[in-house]
Amino acid sequence: MSGAASALDWPAGPVLARDFAEWREAARRLIVRRVPPESIQWMQHAGDADLLSDVLADAGAANDAGAESAPHAAPALRVPRALMAMLECAACFRAIDRWAFLYRVLWRWQRGEQEVLSMADEDGARLQAMAKAVRREEHDMHAYLRFRERPEDKGAPRFVAWFEPAQDVLPQVAQHFVRRMGRISWMIATPDATVLWDGAQLHHAAALLRGPADIEDEGEALWLTYYRSIFNPARLNADLMHSHITTRFWRHLSEAAVVPEMVAQAATGARRTGQSKAVGRRSGTTIPVSAEQAQPEREQPRNLDECRRCELWQNATQAVAGQGPRHAKIMLVGEQPGDQEDLAGKPFVGPAGELLEWAMEQAGMDRRQVYITNAVKHFKWELRGKRRLHKTPAQREVLACHYWLQEELNQIGPGVVVALGSTALKSVLQDGGVNLKDYMDEPVQHEGRWVVATYHPAYALRVPDAQAREDARAAIVAALRTAWRLTQGGAA
């Protein structure tokens, strides 16, 4: 063999491919030797092998020779795994020219025609359609194959099924049932092959049955009872049902026998309800329980949870009240609960909460003397993709919720309030026009309390510039330290 191998070296005889593995081996050698698709005749069965044996032997010898010289003759065949998987899947499609077609796809791919995989290409469309039909057949066999249980004394296989697949999908479907049935033995018979599972191993055999096994199975009667009952006659739509299940499968589904009667019954009577007639005929009972007894015992909802002063409650899970000792010396006020707080019902449990924890520690604050709350008690958000993104509460919402902040201030009576961020400051000072920057340097007196203002921890997490983040964190720590000193009777 010379390095310039060509199609002319290829003996003009058919190439045998009984399965995908054989086709792949042959195809590799042929591609490497640049044999064009139109000069190959593929064979599916070795039925006439006697007549062809000489040719095949020659072909085999040529194959081997080709394979040996291939590394020198032509670049090795490199096929992406996804393409190979696609070809393997399409190879299960029953078509007389399947091997020739797959070879043409591979040939075109090798020549750099990548569109051979696109639906917009004629070959590509056919390849996709073949693979789709095979996957569909696998799926349908997973779905519509029915086992019948054999009597206990008959031994293995305990379960037997008959199925007539339209494509060659039995091997992979058998694997599916191996995973499904554990150590229980079963047999799947088809018109041209049989698989048996003995509980530990698969055995492949030729066709053993000519049709469904005649087994009386009590489970089937229960299944039909279920099938009749789960149907909703008020939604009768037989066409929709038939659009889902191809006609050929109905032949071996036991429920097919009861469908006509179900449809006929449902189609009579003008005021149909969802209840099945069989159930309606039985005698019924009401449950003698009074409305008071039926009411579940729930904790009295807190007034806060029943607040309707603004609309924010509608899209929130719950109102998040403040947390801390009854007579804390210091109150930290944030803006509003976030995604995590809304679910957990506690303030500052998300990432901003972690930063606040850290800042309090840095400032030497005693957590046991701190009450933490928010200016607005319900989470206001908007959907971005699939996530709830915080939305700044409007002035009217801050105002509406000030009622609850005032309630907390009255109850706790802290000497110092730390306003975290602009919204908190506006609420604490009851002035929508204030600017956070103007209040950050010095604590101010408001209604007999010290008010210390600083950034919201979320700002220190969010601001893009690293230096600004660092500064914000430092500012928060400094503010907390000031606030703590004020509670200890220190000077502002």
């Binding site: 639906m119 739509n237 049902m241 309800t273 159930v279 009401t286 039926a294």
Partner: protein, 409 residues
Amino acid sequence: MELTDKLEILADAAKYDASCASSAAPKRSSEGKDGIGATNGMGICHSYTPDGRCVSLLKILLTNFCIYDCQYCVNRRTSNVPRARFSVQEVVKLTVDFYLRNYIEGLFLSSGIIQSADYTMEQLVAIARELREVHQFRGYIHLKTIPDADPALIEAAGRYADRLSVNIELPTQSSIERLAPEKSVHTIKLAMGAIRLKLDEKADEPKAPRFAPAGQSTQMIVGADASDDQRILSTAETLYGSYKLKRVYYSAFSPIPHSPKSVPLAPPPLLREHRLYQADFLLRGYGFQVSELLPQSGNLALDIDPKLAWALANRQHFPLDLNRADLAMIARVPGIGLLNAKRIVELRRMRRVRYADLSRLRCSMKKVAPFVITADYTPARDTTPSETLRRAMAERQQQLALWPELQAA
């Protein structure tokens, strides 16, 4: 009472719950192990009933005795229906027997409220535990979660179940107060929130105990109250965002026997339900927002699908040049789905997209034509008024309204 009688009653009582998915469970296999069952993340529908719905799970109530009096429910305490109750063993046996015969992928279990929320939830958890721990069942389990049940029970339910669901049932607080006097939106939301927190915890801590790997879902009844589609979808959007639900199911209200005056005695609004599912799909998969599909209060159009309705109302985006537009925008073209949008973008890398490509991709050409520009095509009808296009593209409604004379009633 015989098992078959119980099954007849308790499957009939469970049919009103729309969710029957068996998907999104992690891969499990019984190969070489004791016990049975496998999951691979894909759901399987094993049969279809003449209402067009699939049978994927054994969907039953543990009992239809119930102390609540939800007006829309056939099992409410004042309803005169036959009652039954399964034993734990009966549910387990039915599940296993059906599973072995390949009728089902697993169990969907719900229940009427008996004694208390906690007692009922305990019973449901006991069945799931028995299946998983005694029978080594690795198929799919979906448990209804009783909102008022102890969080510890919800945690236990999540250990055994693939999916948990808390049904909101109605889209507004006022409807729930009026039609389901024993239920509370507040506790329903809290239960969903607790489940989401657990799901998040598990996602952050892979070593934490199993918790509902197929997530949570809910159901809303359509047509039992006066809420319009905008209200229903806004509630769905809020629930998706807040609790990371995998699915919101919509169930057209089917009239019930001995119907109370508070709910309609009309055929279920099937087409409306269908449009809601389409709109829901646009919210989940296409990045649409409710405010785009329904800018004002009202219902979705019945004669055209919501995507086409949006395109006809927003002609400023069209015709769209498929050789330039981004993926998300291509997917918004009527007649081009997510998959074909991806294929168009892939094809674009190799060569210019032409009109014939769209027909080879099996796009709905009648729909696509007025909305796209390709290398060799510009719509002649770009100036056609939306009303005219709508008339040309409207679906004949007989498809879903099976009994027009009844639908009109």
